[in-house]
Symmetry: C2
Subunit: 212 residues, 2 copies
């Protein structure tokens, strides 16, 4: 049940969605989420951080010395937002210029992830699918230095805008060009670490990340 | 003076910057900012919205019926964050996987922009440079329905990570591939509005937006 009074979409409700499939697709495509909380002294804060979904939970992680992790671990309520910008919408009127986007907002209180080692596997696989089996796994010391927190995906909403501009009827007669400039994200050719040992070829799990 | 006690970077301070040129470049490249505030009943909220910098102020706008605009107009403190993801950093250890990014965080209380019509010109030109002179300008009714708020850029910080992974010394001997997958944003070929009148060619100010 994702819909609650505060996830009801008041502005442009026709763009709002509360189904898990839409929400999950938006979350899974995003590397970064924007985690907002109220600081212990009452101020708003928002930080960008890597997110990874593990079934019905959204994971974030950080050093256990970070202010954000400490505030959230202490039970500060969170609001986590993810947005993909898909296009610039050019209307004939300045007023109706817009963006095409897909966004998701989740609410709730985070809790420690029950299995930190598994969570770090989920993060690594989120960044680069197939990576986990190729790398050195976290040491006990590294695991101890990291906190992983999870938010149950139970309250939230998605909002999606697609397509051409919507105009005032009389503006369709204007001679301005109107339409959409699509925006996409590309993954370029891998850049080897200058300290990479000789003789290590680019593995398939990295090669396949490059946008075709 | 961008540096204050709360903008001091405690985590990875070597990645932190407080100069205006760095901050402005990050803000100017971003279409979307993430605006966090505390709701009147004390909960954290964060929404994505178009941002545009007008010299020493960051502008946001919205319907004057929106909850966010109303809360901010009523004096709710804000934290506005912008992040560009520039690459996925693949280390030889799971623990040192990271992202290359440029982020900016601003703090403060917004106030109404003194000249709403000029602000809408700034937003339109931010979306598509050169667009303003080609479109119908806002009517009195449209201006009335829109609120434009501005945040003075006086308290904030930027954080930037670039380059290859940093590893534990002994991990450089591992035979895992390491390096960076660059991430870039592309603007594709313009898609005309299906309702575009015949005989309207793609203007130069739109053509020049496409990533070469």
């Amino acid at each position: 049940m994702l819909k609650t009074p505060r996830t009801k979409l008041r502005r442009a409700p026709q763009r709002g969605l509360h189904d898990r499939a839409t929400l999950d697709a938006i979350l899974d495509e995003a590397l970064i989420g924007h985690v907002a909380f109220v600081t212990p002294d009452g101020h708003p804060a928002v930080i960008p951080t890597l997110i990874a979904r593990d079934e019905d939970h959204l994971l974030i992680h950080g050093s256990n010395a970070s202010r954000t992790v400490r505030a959230l671990r202490a039970g500060a309520e969170a609001c986590i937002e993810v947005t993909h910008v898909d296009g610039i919408v050019l209307a004939r009127s300045a007023f109706h210029h817009s963006m095409n986007y897909r966004s998701a907002i989740l609410y709730g209180t985070l809790e420690p992830a029950p299995d930190k080692a598994r969570a770090l596997e989920v993060f690594t696989e989120k960044l680069v699918p197939g990576r986990w089996e190729h790398v050195r796994w976290p040491s006990a010391k590294e695991l101890k230095a990291t906190d992983v927190l999870q938010l149950a995906i139970t309250e939230g909403s998605a909002k999606v805008r697609t397509g051409p501009p919507g105009e005032e009827d009389e503006d369709y007669a204007l001679d301005a060009w109107a339409g959409v400039i699509p925006i996409t994200t590309q993954r370029g050719a891998p850049i080897p670490d200058p300290l990479l040992r000789e003789g290590i070829d680019l593995p398939d799990h990295v090669r396949s990340l490059t946008t075709r």
